[in-house]
């Protein structure tokens, strides 16, 4: 009976996704329709879909697990993410939208190529290598989460769970393109927010209220209520807190998030959407951390803190809501995988096949190739997920920072520093990415486990600035940048 109820909820949700795929399919016949939904998305869709894409299963399983394991020390994640989302919408979105509309750009490499008057396609090739390698790791991690979620909620078995998750995502992503991705992400974002509002309320109530919950946590481990956690105000504590804050840096310039700004109908949608996005991420993060802390009170001694959400949903709610919580975990997974697959597809088809190689195929044919590449990337992620079943969130955070460090420093410099040159941007992109990978592989363990986003960002900015100062900027590019900022107007 319980399993039947859960399956009924799940089937209803999957039908909604398939319906969105069919509904959006009319606009996926050309590249602009397939990759940026014809640039016609409203504010509420870009707000929720950007957050749903940015957060993934890490929010529901990873951040609740952090609340469980380290208590209020996880508040530093909230600081970084809320600030990152707010600054992205306030400072980055409008000039980026203005630039990409002027150039009719539909990918971030499109934007960089035009911004720096590049004729060699170096940004396109570098982006393709970085995006494809990171998307593979990221997608595999999400599919691993899908397999575990299906297996733990329904007992499908891990392999079948991975196949089911990928099958659904591939269907609506290839049929409906970015429009289906954005609208399904909106639905998924709303579900995630509802879950993360309801779960901590039920959890705190079951724990006997805030006072009872905090006193239980204090008795279990006083470090759970300290902002600097078990480390205190030393180098290790500061490294840990700053690493958590740095998770939010990626919202400022990761291509899978910038695509939402490109796809907005106009700049008014960005102004209107920012507040929704900030409120949404506050609900996500505060809800996840408090749910984890309530879970620690209710279920002390879990072997894996990242299972606290399924534990709470099963124990505190009837079967129908357990089905909803399974749907929400899947929503978080799918809303990230669909966006990554579209991003990888655009890197291959738009940036390499159409622009770098100069293919003269029709838009319709390119769109079909884009769909085929989407399927291919999904299958590659599937192969990795079936072969390497472990450490979901290690891969997620690594891929999240790899993409962010390659693009964000360069995008920020290109939008706000007119002295930025093409050579500087290329150096920054490669430097940020390489240092991120090297930090994880060689240095991380020796330096208090400092999160790779910090050295990666530092290297990306340093390389961009130093090489730009050694080379001459393009006078037309400087005039263009000044005109963009005049056109966009002051921030406050």
């Amino acid at each position: 009976m319980t399993s039947t109820t859960i399956i009924a909820v799940l089937v209803g949700y999957l039908c909604v996704l398939l319906g969105i795929g069919f509904w959006a399919s009319r606009e996926s016949g050309d590249l602009k329709g397939y990759y940026v939904a014809g640039k016609r998305l409203p504010s509420w869709v870009i707000a929720f879909s950007s957050n749903a894409t940015g957060e993934s299963a890490w929010l529901l399983l990873g951040l609740t697990g952090m609340g469980y394991a380290i208590g209020v020390h996880a508040f530093w994640v909230i600081l970084g993410e809320v600030l990152g989302v707010a600054c992205a919408w306030i400072f980055v979105a409008r000039p980026f939208k203005e630039y990409t509309d002027r150039f009719d750009a539909i990918t971030v490499p499109d934007y960089l190529t035009d911004r720096f008057r590049d004729k060699t396609h170096v940004f396109r090739w570098a982006s393709a290598v970085i995006v494809l390698s990171m998307v593979m790791a990221y997608t595999a991690a999400q599919l691993t989460a899908s397999g575990k979620a299906f297996d733990s909620f329904l007992g499908t078995g891990y392999t079948q769970g991975v196949w089911i998750g990928l099958g659904i995502v591939l269907f609506y992503t290839t049929v409906g393109g970015f429009k289906a991705v954005a609208y399904s992400d909106f639905v998924q974002g709303v579900l995630m927010l509802a879950c993360l509002v309801v779960l901590p309320i039920a959890g705190v109530r079951a724990a006997g209220g805030f006072g009872e919950m905090f006193s239980t946590l204090d008795a279990a481990d006083p470090a759970l209520l300290r902002p600097m956690g078990e480390f205190g105000l030393g180098v290790a504590g500061i490294a840990s807190a700053s690493g958590f804050v740095a998770i939010g840096f990626a919202f400022l310039g990761s291509p899978q998030l910038l695509t939402r700004f490109m796809a907005a109908r106009d700049q008014k949608q960005i102004v209107d959407g920012g507040l929704w996005a900030v409120i949404c991420v506050i609900g996500f993060d505060v809800g996840a951390v408090f749910a984890g802390m309530a879970g620690r009170t209710l279920f002390p001694g879990l072997a894996d803190p990242e299972t606290v959400l399924p534990q709470m949903s099963t124990a505190l709610f009837p079967a129908f809501f357990t089905g909803i919580f399974l749907v929400v975990v899947l929503a978080a997974i799918m809303s990230t995988v669909d966006s990554l697959l579209i991003l990888a597809s655009s890197a291959v088809v738009r940036d390499i096949v159409q622009k770098a190689l100069g293919s003269e195929w029709s838009e319709r044919k390119l769109s079909l190739v884009g769909k085929a590449v989407t399927v291919l990337m999904g299958l590659v992620g599937l192969a990795v997920a079936l072969g390497e079943v472990r450490a979901i969130f290690y891969f997620v955070l690594f891929a999240w920072s790899g993409i962010a460090c390659a693009f964000t420093p360069v995008v920020l410099c290109s939008l706000f520093w007119k002295r930025t040159t093409k050579a500087g941007a290329v150096a920054g992109m490669i430097g940020g990415f390489v240092v991120t990978v090297l930090w994880v592989v060689v240095f991380k363990e020796r330096f208090y486990d400092l999160y790779e986003m910090i050295p990666g960002f530092a290297a990306g900015f340093a390389a961009t600035i130093v090489v730009s100062l050694m080379t001459e900027p393009d006078a037309k590019a400087i005039a263009e940048l000044e005109d963009v900022h005049r056109s966009v107007g002051p921030v406050f």
Binding site: V72, F75, W76, I78, L79, V82, L83, G84, V85, A86, C87, W89, I90, R94, K97, E98, D101, R102, F103, D104, A105, D110, T113, D114, R115, R117, D118, K119, F210, G211, E212, M213, F214, S215, D218, L225, R226, P227, D266, Q267, K268, V271, G274, L275, V278, I279, V281, I282, V286, K355, K476, E480, S487, V488, G489, P490, V491, F492
Partner: protein, 54 residues
């Protein structure tokens, strides 16, 4: 000192974590609304061909 059982410094961190980004966003929205009402429309959404490489 604690409020509802959680230490004051933890509350302050939570307040800053939520309030800093939210405050910036609210200030931005208010400034844009003021700017819109002063200029009678939204600025900066025009498309122009500037000879980019795409």
């Amino acid at each position: 000192m604690s409020i509802l059982g959680m230490p004051l410094d933890a509350w302050i961190l939570l307040l800053v974590a939520v309030g800093l980004g939210l405050g910036l966003e609210v200030a931005f929205v208010m400034a844009r609304k003021r700017g819109r009402s002063e200029s009678g429309g939204d600025a900066g959404s025009g498309r122009r061909d500037v000879g980019g490489a795409t």
